[in-house]
């Protein structure tokens, strides 16, 4: 009899009022245990992806961020053979710690400098130190290598000996640069990325007019990206609408045309733009032949900003069309019909009824295209000339040519920050849940 009851009602109410299973365990705990196994199993399935994302996405971004504040070039050296890390300029860093910024370097400071230079030369680290200070005060690399050659044989008083070797050591800017390079972490690369630097007293000032490039490039990158986004929207909206409203038979063909750029190599597409747009290219030839322009005034449409805009608009167009299409497809034509029957002209019906319903697609497409454009590298490099270069081209320059990785990382971090800021703004203005990618 009791067995039958237990079987029929496997849950019973314990004395404290909570539900329990037939054998008296709390029901909630039993449920959690039963679900835990499923959760664990599901988690194992996503572990590879999780690892992949961590290794290929989070770790590099973390490294980039740490690289952008990394200051170790001045005070530590990694031995190539043994792999040991050897501290540099130990005494000088000690002196900087004990003395306020702006203190006139005394004999002790010069002694520490001489010892540091001699040691650095000894272990072949002097080039790295010189390069580091050269970022802040240009033309100082040879100062370090030159003086270090004599440092070993120097006798006290070191101040005289060093100034004897090179007058330039008296320049307070160099001392300010060395002081800031001895700190564990630095924001100097960010300052440099924003066309700022420190003067001898450690105040942040603008760099000279002719050396200020980064802010200009950031501005150009954002303005061009916004322009390209707008162009893809203007060009993509009617196509997406057509795709969404045509009968399936025709829209499939159109869809293939839209996706065609995806199936062609980026390089092929970019070079074909060169063929089309160069001054002896197809477009110019056509215009000259049709008498629109005369042969002497062929338009320069490539290797400049125009080329960057045209080629990137073309390449990024599908990223606008697809989100728009996926938002437009399910919009029932009866909405516009209803608006029309209620007395709206076709323009009003579009503006007040159709357009608002496509906002999630416009937002998604716009954000996607803008973010891609802001970081685009290959196309501006190929067709941008000098006026069509974007910030990513400069990042690549610092990665590959000038080898100032920290500055490259700072620039990239700023770009990342700007994109995140944009994302936040979008969330505030439109709402992130109002985003439909597909």
């Amino acid at each position: 009899m009791t067995d039958a009851v237990a079987a029929a009602a496997p849950t019973t109410r314990a004395t404290d009022g909570r539900l329990t299973t037939a054998d008296g365990k709390p029901l909630k705990a039993a449920l959690a245990r039963a679900q835990a196994r499923n959760k664990r199993r599901a988690f194992f399935l996503v572990v590879p992806l999780l690892l992949f994302v961590v290794v290929t996405f989070l770790v590099p971004i973390g490294q980039m961020l740490s690289m952008s504040v990394n200051n170790s070039a001045f005070y530590s050296w990694k031995d190539r053979d043994t792999g040991d890390t050897i501290p540099l300029m130990v005494d000088l860093r000690g002196w900087f710690n004990e003395n306020e910024p702006g203190t006139e370097p005394d004999e002790a400071a010069y002694a520490a400098l001489a010892a540091g230079l001699a040691h650095a030369r000894d272990i072949k680290a002097i080039g790295q130190i010189g390069t580091r200070i050269n970022y802040e005060v240009s033309g100082t690399r040879s100062l370090f290598t030159g003086t270090s050659r004599k440092a070993e044989r120097m006798e006290p008083p070191y101040k005289e000996a060093i100034l004897d070797a090179d007058e330039e050591w008296a320049d307070p800017e160099i001392w300010a640069a060395m002081r800031s390079a001895s700190k564990a972490f630095t924001l100097d690369f960010y300052l440099a990325a924003l066309d700022r630097t420190r003067d001898a007293d450690g105040n942040i000032v603008k760099v000279d007019e002719e050396r200020a490039v980064y802010i200009l490039l950031f501005q150009r990158t954002f303005v061009l990206s916004a322009l390209i986004t707008l162009m893809t929207l203007i060009l993509g909206f009617p196509i997406a609408h057509l795709l969404a409203t045509l009968p399936l038979r025709h829209s499939n063909l159109l869809m293939i045309l839209v996706l065609l750029p995806f199936w062609t190599s980026l390089l092929v597409r970019t070079t074909s733009w060169i063929v089309l747009l160069q001054s002896q290219g197809v477009v110019n030839d056509l215009w000259v032949a049709s008498g629109l322009i005369d042969d002497g005034n062929r338009l320069q449409m490539i290797y400049n900003r125009t080329g960057t805009i045209i080629a990137m608009t073309h390449i990024l167009l599908p990223f606008m069309v697809l989100p728009l299409y996926s938002v437009m497809r399910p919009i029932d034509p009866s909405y516009v019909r209803a608006a029309r029957s209620l007395g709206a002209t076709s323009w009003t019906a579009f503006r007040r009824v159709y357009l608002p319903q496509t906002v999630p697609g416009i937002g998604a497409g716009g954000l996607l295209v803008f973010i891609l454009a802001v970081g685009y590298y290959i196309t501006p490099a190929l067709v941008g000339g000098s006026s069509g270069q974007l910030i990513s081209n400069l990042i690549a320059f610092h990665m590959q040519k000038s080898l100032n990785w920290s500055l490259a990382a700072a620039l990239a971090s700023l770009l990342l920050g700007a994109v995140l800021l944009l994302y936040w703004l979008y969330d505030r203005l439109v709402g992130i849940d109002n985003l439909k990618l597909g």
Binding site: D332, Y335, A338, A344, A349, P356
Partner: protein, 366 residues
């Protein structure tokens, strides 16, 4: 027959419509509606009802023929100038606007001043008892509430003609009946002209001044509900509206208002000729279950009787349904009112049944 008023408000004149150039979806549609009428288009799925509404509202163009609104050809008037309120099958409430904004839309695009707008929106919402829901979005409403909002939106700008495309299709029975009542009530109160589409025949019969039965792109019969039910003009209408017993046979003799029909199984019955004219023609006789009599005292003197065997007796509360075998058909149904002393026929019993010749209609065979 209801003669249309001298000047019809809505007129379809020999209208044809084809979407693909191969098949005619609407074939030769002629229809005249006086102002203030409630006309229902009733018909099976795919018979062209929505297409007719869309042509009237201006979202499809007629392939041939002319549609006139208030005497003027409609083809040259763009949809937003026709002043036709429309309730769509799927409501088509704008999802990004609140209920009040949806209702204000037609007033707004007409440039009504803001103060008038608010007052009229409130009135329209109160009319459908949705006054408390102005601030909600359509997604936050139930089906019936959306329906009412759609109705209020189609009426708020006081159109003279309102088209409703299966507006109650998605509602449960109770709500549907309630809304039928409300729509009918609004029609009477506002004096608007309504074209209503449905494939629910009860809805059509209870609400309409006239019903147009559609099939195969044609109006099969256009008549007031009672006439449609009691005097169907062809076998499609007879079969589509209400329950009906069908007996096949050939015309044996024919007079002005009476035909004698010999059924396939040999029995002779009386009927009213509707669209049979000659002796020897095949015909299909249609009799409503409630017009079949089994008590000899109610038989029409001189009418033929026919033998029936009771197969099943079904108690329906307000009525009894008796299924019998008549002239070889197992599905002949007789319906009697459940009244004091009404006889319950037990299965297996054999008896004679008859009907008034007026209630049996000899129609064209399908």
């Amino acid at each position: 027959m209801n003669a249309p008023a001298a000047k019809p408000f809505v007129e379809f004149d020999r209208v044809q419509k084809s979407y693909d150039g191969e098949t005619l979806v609407v074939k030769d549609l002629n229809l005249q509606m006086p102002k203030g009428e409630f006309l229902t288009m009733l018909g099976p799925s795919g018979s062209g009802k929505t297409t007719c509404l869309m042509m009237l509202a201006g979202f499809e163009t007629a392939t041939h023929g002319e549609i006139k609104l208030d005497g003027k050809p409609i083809n040259n008037i763009p949809p937003h100038k026709r002043g036709i309120g429309m309730v769509f099958q799927n409501y088509a409430l704008f999802p990004h606007m609140t209920v009040a904004e949806n209702l204000a839309f037609p007033l707004d695009v007409r440039g009504e001043p803001k103060s008038d707008r608010e007052a009229r929106v409130r009135m329209a919402l109160d009319m459908v008892q949705m006054g408390a829901f102005g601030a909600r979005r359509p997604a936050q409403l139930s089906g019936g509430q959306r329906q009412r909002v759609a109705l209020a939106r189609a009426l708020v700008f006081e159109p003279e003609l309102v088209l409703m495309d299966e507006p109650l299709g998605a509602l449960d029975k109770q709500l549907r009946e309630h809304m039928q009542f409300e729509i009918k009530h609004l029609h009477e109160r506002l004096g608007i002209t309504v074209v209503y589409v449905t494939h629910d025949q009860t809805e059509a019969l209870t609400m309409s001044d006239r019903v147009a039965v559609f099939n195969d792109g044609r109006i099969q019969q256009l008549a007031p509900p009672d006439e449609l039910y009691e005097r169907p003009q062809n076998s499609f209408v007879a079969g589509f509206i209400g329950e009906n017993n069908r007996l096949e046979g050939t015309v044996e003799a024919i007079e002005a208002d009476k035909a004698v029909v010999r059924l396939k199984s040999g029995e002779i019955i009386d009927a009213t000729p509707v669209n049979v004219t000659q002796v020897g023609q095949d015909t299909l006789v249609s009799i409503r279950p409630e017009r079949v009599e089994f008590k000899p005292e109610y038989f029409d003197p001189g009418a033929h009787t026919i033998e029936a065997e009771v197969l099943e007796f079904i108690y329906m509360g307000d009525s009894f349904r008796t299924r019998m075998r008549v002239a070889g058909h197992d599905d002949f149904v007789m319906k009697c009112r459940n009244m004091l002393g009404q006889q319950r026929l037990e299965p297996g019993r054999k008896l004679q049944i008859s009907w008034h010749p007026q209630d049996a209609r000899a129609l064209d065979p399908m």
